[in-house]
Symmetry: D2
Subunit: 374 residues, 4 copies
């Protein structure tokens, strides 16, 4: 192998024109990528670029996608260790390449050792400023928003990082369609009130205000994941909330039992198969309260509750909650939007939306957002 002797190592903190996507602690020595869709972006004029990553996990390894001039060209599993990854080599030294290295897997609330950091780059050229996109969008959701099943055969059934994608994902596709930067806050199995299996602690609102509060463990704490997020530094034009699918699942799954306290929780069905009024009410209050919370941190954003990629059983409840919220607060920038359902033709791995379903959702959602932002 011919060595490129012009490569020079730079720490991320020394790169003036580095653009970081996704909620972070602000620390870039090193940079920790917590959420799916988190990324570094560079406009790189030079022939060869490497990044130095540090990776760990107990069970769930991170994956990355490499996007060059807006086209994904590589996607790979990151095994544990600290090592260099080549992003490109042999390119024209006089041409600026836009590159993005994107975390392709969600934050892993149940694997406290899961870690993905970027320390430095090795490069033989110069970085140029990355232009701001016209808009900013924040997506909040569950496995659908985590892109679970967006890649992989329909036959796949294992719950592993390989089937997650931040690229073949309606968040990315919607943002491209309206020329927006985006952040994703998501967790498979979680809801706005409970998780799919009735755990009342597994809901996004509980941790929304933190950098990445749904993580666990001392390591993540010391990284700053549980600190308050700095909302002022990134105010979105649109917040899309795609929650409710797991809250609906809870009604159809056994009760959750806290193994320590013995406490249980269950969203109940009536005998005729309808939702228990009281438990549904609790869900609606959770929606209401989450809207209050989102608005607190995102003063100017259009908030869209976008729901439906795996059916619409909670839609009446969502509409009720939003309706009460809008009437009570006079906040007219909160609306509900139904996403197209996933079908046999559009389903992906693990019975989740596949790429075709994400594409359809992105077409409809981006059309709606364009109308709102007019």
């Amino acid at each position: 192998m011919r060595e490129n002797e012009k490569l020079k190592i730079q720490k991320l903190c020394d790169i003036e024109n580095l653009k970081v996507h996704g909620r972070t602690t602000g620390c870039i020595s090193p940079l920790t990528l917590f959420w799916t869709g988190s990324a570094i972006e560079l406009n790189a004029k030079g022939t060869e670029l490497w990044i130095e990553v540090e990776v760990d996990y107990d069970v769930c390894e991170p994956w990355i996608s490499i996007v060059i001039n807006s086209v994904p060209v590589s996607r790979q599993m990151l095994v544990a260790g600290r090592y260099w990854i080549c992003i490109f080599r042999g390119m024209n030294k006089d041409v600026i390449k836009n590159i993005k290295v994107v975390k392709d897997v969600q934050a892993m609330s149940e694997d406290p050792e899961c870690l993905m950091q970027i320390h430095a780059v090795k490069f033989d050229g110069e970085f140029f400023p990355v232009e701001e996109k016209q808009y900013k969008i924040e997506f909040i959701g569950d496995s659908i928003t985590s892109g679970e099943g967006a890649i992989g055969s329909k036959a796949e059934d294992d719950w592993i990082p390989m089937w997650f994608s931040a690229i073949d994902n309606y968040c990315n596709l919607t943002s491209e369609a309206i020329n927006a930067d985006y952040r994703i806050i998501s967790q498979s199995g979680w809801g706005v009130y409970t998780s799919w299996d009735n755990n009342p602690y597994y809901n996004i609102p509980k941790y929304y205000s933190k950098v990445c509060g749904l993580l666990t463990g001392g390591e993540n704490e010391s990284l700053g994941a549980f600190k308050e997020n700095d909302f002022d530094s990134w105010q979105p034009d649109v917040v899309v909330v795609n929650l409710g699918t797991n809250d609906s699942g809870a009604f159809n799954n056994p009760e959750w039992k806290d193994e320590i306290s013995g406490k249980t929780h269950k969203q109940r069905l009536n005998e005729d198969g309808t939702y228990n009024r009281e438990d549904l009410q609790a869900f609606e209050e959770a929606v209401y309260n989450f809207l209050v919370q989102i608005r607190k941190y995102n003063k100017k954003a259009q908030i869209i509750w976008a729901y439906g990629m795996l059916g619409i059983p909670m839609m009446p409840a969502i509409y009720r909650a939003v309706d009460i919220y809008v009437k009570a607060t006079k906040d007219n920038k909160v609306t509900v939007f139904q996403l197209p359902n996933t079908t046999e033709e559009t389903v992906g791995a693990r019975n989740h939306p596949g790429l075709l379903s994400h594409k359809k959702a992105a077409i409809e959602l981006s059309g709606y957002i364009k109308e709102l932002l007019k």
Copy 2:
């Protein structure tokens, strides 16, 4: 990271149910993958699988795609060195996964150090036999068949391995459509008579009978690349030849000069822009002779000269040559098929066919092949 203590290393030569795709020397200790689309395939029942690769190059690094249950889930650059790559982890130990690790870049005739080998696997389960596909196809071609530009932005102009794909490639797509295993023999810039820049030594027929004869250097020689290919071991049902695009380019490019002997070569245009009759004749003889050669080694195959993804200027000459061949030999299993042209909508990187163009070509070509094989 939690170690998987059940992983055991096996040399490739010790795996009974290993399936190797692509022309090789027969040696699998280690296995050298020469051509794009070359691959190992395994039916693996276990939770975690790694492969050990050895990689080198002077300029052009190899890339691989990982295909699980027929869906590509990873694609990555292989930097120089000998190291382990994780193919999957955390999967259900009781389910058989079909996995393919595919070389995603062509043999590199101008980089004698370019090397990709697989030494061993590390696995915690059992391998099962891989079923034979219904048909076998061999594809012979140039950059189009190498999938150059099938991935990457339309803006890309560097000649680097990153823009090559064996997956988003009409060869792979055609083979999937008719349930065939396939091999690819291809080289960017080469023709059936000369290369795009009039080099009369850069043509596929000259090296067709060897394992991978267009490579250079002592290293490749010692690997066995220049040995006669064992045609008996893999007799295709169909041979697709997609050559002529660079032969046409030669007429429009400057003469080639051998820097040592001073000898030159040039396919000439007439003053009115048409092809010089004599030079075109040489091309047609090359087509004729190549058909003779292909038939010599592939006794039963349908031979299809498939041409047109970047225009059809050589089509009359190809038809003439095939016509003369068929009349002279009474060999009725040789035909010509026009592939759909690449358009502004379907072009990819480096002004080459993009994925959409490869898809269109595969639809038409597989339809034609199905008719022939009826």
Copy 3:
């Protein structure tokens, strides 16, 4: 012209195997087709078939489409008069053809002279029974459901029957997708509470229980259009209500004034552009009351309020009204479904949904209906 001497005239009332689509008075001597999508259907074994129509109008002429073996093959304006139309000729006498002659234009509430009747057929063969479809659907709506603009250039702006279609219409396409017979009750410009221009008398519920009560004039009265509809004879599995678009328009249009009484009506906007609460309440009550009415006549049907092909401004109000209805009545077979919005790519004539928009709506709606009918 060679006369077919085997043709025999039969009155409709003498055809045992005649199938009539759409609400009628029961009279078939002659048969009056009132609504768009109304039709006669025949399984005809013979070579040549004609129908005798009687047509009149002051302004708005009827159109028909002819559908043979499920494929539309002819579409034509019907000018005034009583005359014969050839449906097919020269066909194989031994083969049964399924034929449908479909009224392609809505009932015309403002043209009391508009009339389309079928008196008789002229045929040289035998009619066979027409199979029942698996399901029955009733569609209730406005111009969207009338297929206004589903045919014709985007440049068209005249309000004329030519741009209406019962074929390139989400009602027809949805019904095909789920194998259903269907009826359409629709009127351009009308709403569930008022018309687009605030006329409180132009709403569908007012006339829903009649055969075709929104028509006017003595002629229609004597034809029986204002009689009670015989709901028992055709009980749908699904009622789709696509109303609200004109009710929304009313808020943005000038007040309506009854030229005789001087009475006016106006759905008001607040100063901040939101809907006046009281007027919106009136709309919601109209939705509620219409649901009560629909349920009265359609005891077993799933009722779907399907809305959104031209935006979703009334969706919160619709959800509120449906919610109150469901709670008050315990009627769980009433749901709301959002249809995909029309875009620049899918728009048709007169700024209305084009064929592509109707196709998208049909895909989503039929998917939803299939789930409901499981």
Copy 4:
């Protein structure tokens, strides 16, 4: 019905801005439309327009399509008689509408009584000049070019005019894609040398130089169908010849016998299923001679032999013939282009190309023509 008293009858010959499509005798009192795709085109500023047709036939009735502002809005059978057809009514008097009335069925060589004429229009406005399109194309072919089977169910098997279309036809679609006016010369079952059933008199070249020479009977003679065509008045930029499909069929069908002279003809297969060399030679000579003839009348046109929508068995012979022609004449503006084959997904009625097949052919052919005309 309210009479429009402003309608005035004008003979075609009195309309200054009339545009006639298709080969005619020059006579427009009345205008006879012979070929499929023949049409009148008008830019009409007025509210209501009728045309007076005269129609006759023994067996095969004509059909028309009405195209308004480039969108087909009506298609209807024309029964025998002389009568008025309403093209539009109720339109804005101040807007110019572009309208085309297109003959949707081929010339009927076996029905000498088949006649379609336009005598006059009835209109309440003014006609404006129709712009010339950028290019002119002539299409020469068989049933494929006649659009046989482009409309109708796959189940249809009767040979009747209903299944013919000049609209859902690659000729129309190709011409739209390159902004061209077009003419069609076509006849189902015919070839360049013989018909599908070996009749050596049923070939297009025999009648190419006449207005519509393949018609028969004294009526057509007196109309001028057998007169020399005035080629100077309409010189195409491109001539597309799509012949060969029936010539190929002849090899696989029984001999033709002249019932009067007893003379027979048969294109023979060899015992091994290949084409008899001598008979194939006759076909190739017919191709050669037809090219000579086409060039004689179309001095400047690119001539494209476009073939393949129902397979490519004659392609080698076509290439040979064109090759010999080009070499002999130095005429470099003659090329061969392969059209995409029809598949199960794209087939229409009567096992002929359906609309999807015509669309695919038009995309490929128009792309090729654009390259040629650059």
